[in-house]
Assembly symmetry: C2
Homo-oligomer: 323 residues x 2
């Protein structure tokens, strides 16, 4: 049995979930050919898109539908946070099977609405079509004060290198989910981080507004891969100290280190701070620990100080869909 | 054999196709977490997304890859034209197989670049990931002068109803492609319209800048479906005259009429004009015919004057992925 009569009915169902909060702050939202958007005066627009695909990014049988809804928006919003911007509205693009999807869709839209409310980010439009497997592409539109954007390319040798939160926790949560076939305890912190990550919007904005970070990005594919991208964009290297990594709790030491270095899906912020400003970085911001894990160096390579005290090169081994 | 080593290499290949023209007019394009965008002073931002999926929107074996590249941008840009806006940049989101796709990708990027150049619309970013079948989601960012946007909802009873170009030609082109298994003569006008549609950007902007159209949208799913949406948004009905439809050439009369009423993929503009301004609408604009096909009426229904002169209700029978 079909879950909706046609595309207009599906769009109506989606819009219905968001109407109470939508429409106020976007100039024109769902229902026309395109949406209209204007940032606050003195701000520029920040734009990003992210895929979230059944089979590669989530499993329909194991991931609760409300987590899929939450996460598809949260992870795209994290790219806005990584520039120091604030997410404001989003376009939701979905490929859905025509049948057997009604209950899943309700759960999905519930989680998406929770994320949208939590981020104060409104549904502005999108596109829906039919396909065998669920595909989601979310475009988030945000704003940032003119000139305050923090790029990947601004790190300089000597900068202190920080991360927010704990690294590797989300990957640990995924391990738990796989081990239990989706029946893991939903109160577990690592599992919650895998299912309902919280993009560091306030932290990113604070760092940008205060002009603290010289470079910033979010850690979505794993530190070893993402740090390489930040360094390549800035034309620098980095040295990190394995003992300082904020690793997941409750995991044996070497395994915890591997998770922190290569685990994906954390959506924490990785940022560089000029040495003369490093004293302004508190040990935590609104309850999120900020940890100096190393520093930016001259040259190209990324090295890690291992347990024996000697440097060794760090290989990019985070998540890559094509590797 | 894999066509690219990893995601960064793929992004590099895509960016390489666009570098000569990119980067000048976008504040920040490919390569960071998000793109930065600012419209001209006095303009607001217009946003739209469109799916283009292997199997439902194109066939990898039958559609030339450069047509897929051209069309995925052109059809999304058409939604910007339908508001009276001008496309400026786009986010390209692609799901690609990891192997056997190198040659296809080159053709695709060539067609995409041609469309981007023709529309003066720059690649600003996007997301790439791996999957069995090719999926494309394009988000186009455009601008429109503050207050000049033309919505679907402004049509009033008595307005004259127009379409640009010919309706049903693209559907006719698809029929030819199917009949010949992809070997149709590429110079055929209907086939070209199916493969390389040209969004009516200049026309839409002209109608908007002159405040001529009370309501506008693009005809992408077929007149019978899209006119219903314009009328629903405006709370009006419409009466159209079958004899005035600009039908495809070289097709028997009744078949041509059915193509014009229900065929999809034309990306022509459908617009309503207040009767006191109808004299300002020329018979063609920059070589594109503008045809009055009927008028907006009170009430809800859409009727068509048939060959015998009597009205009959027109059923929405355009393309719907869920029907």
């Amino acid at each position: 049995m079909k879950d909706f009569q046609d595309e207009d009915a599906l769009v109506g169902e989606i819009a219905g979930h968001f109407l109470p909060s939508g429409g106020r702050k976007i100039r024109l939202g769902i229902g026309d050919d395109a949406a209209l958007w204007e940032p606050k005066r003195g701000f520029v627009t920040v734009l990003t898109s992210d895929w979230f695909l059944e089979g590669s990014h989530f499993l329909r049988e194991q991931h609760p539908p409300d987590s899929v809804g939450w996460k598809c928006l949260a992870r795209a919003a994290s790219d806005i946070a990584a520039m120091g911007g604030t997410p404001r509205c989003f376009l939701l693009n979905m490929v859905l099977p025509a049948a057997g999807i009604g209950k899943w869709l309700k759960g999905f839209l519930g989680g998406l609405r929770r994320a949208a409310n939590s981020l104060d980010c409104l549904l502005a439009g999108g596109d829906t079509t039919r396909g065998k497997r669920i595909s989601i592409s979310v475009t988030v539109i945000g704003e940032i004060r003119e000139g305050r954007e923090v790029l990947r390319s601004g790190a300089r040798a000597g900068d202190a290198l920080y991360v927010s939160g704990r690294l590797g926790e989300a990957e640990r949560g995924l391990q738990l989910l796989r081990k239990t076939g989706g029946m893991a305890n939903r109160k577990n912190a690592a599992l919650r981080k895998h299912l309902y990550p919280e993009p560091r919007v306030e932290l990113g904005r604070w760092l940008a507004e205060r002009n603290l970070a010289t470079a910033m990005m979010d850690v979505s594919d794993g530190l070893s891969s993402d740090l390489g991208r930040l360094c390549a964009a800035s034309g620098v290297g980095a040295l990190i100290d394995a003992d300082r990594l904020p690793v997941p709790r409750g995991v044996q030491k070497e395994a915890a280190r591997q998770l922190a270095l290569h685990g994906g899906d954390d959506y924490e912020l990785l940022f560089a701070i000029s040495p003369r400003k490093a004293w302004q970085v508190p040990p935590s911001y609104r309850g999120i620990p900020l940890t100096q894990i190393g520093k930016i160096t001259k040259g190209q390579g990324i090295k890690i100080i291992g347990p024996g005290g000697e440097d060794e090169p760090l290989r990019a081994a985070g998540w890559d869909p094509f590797r």
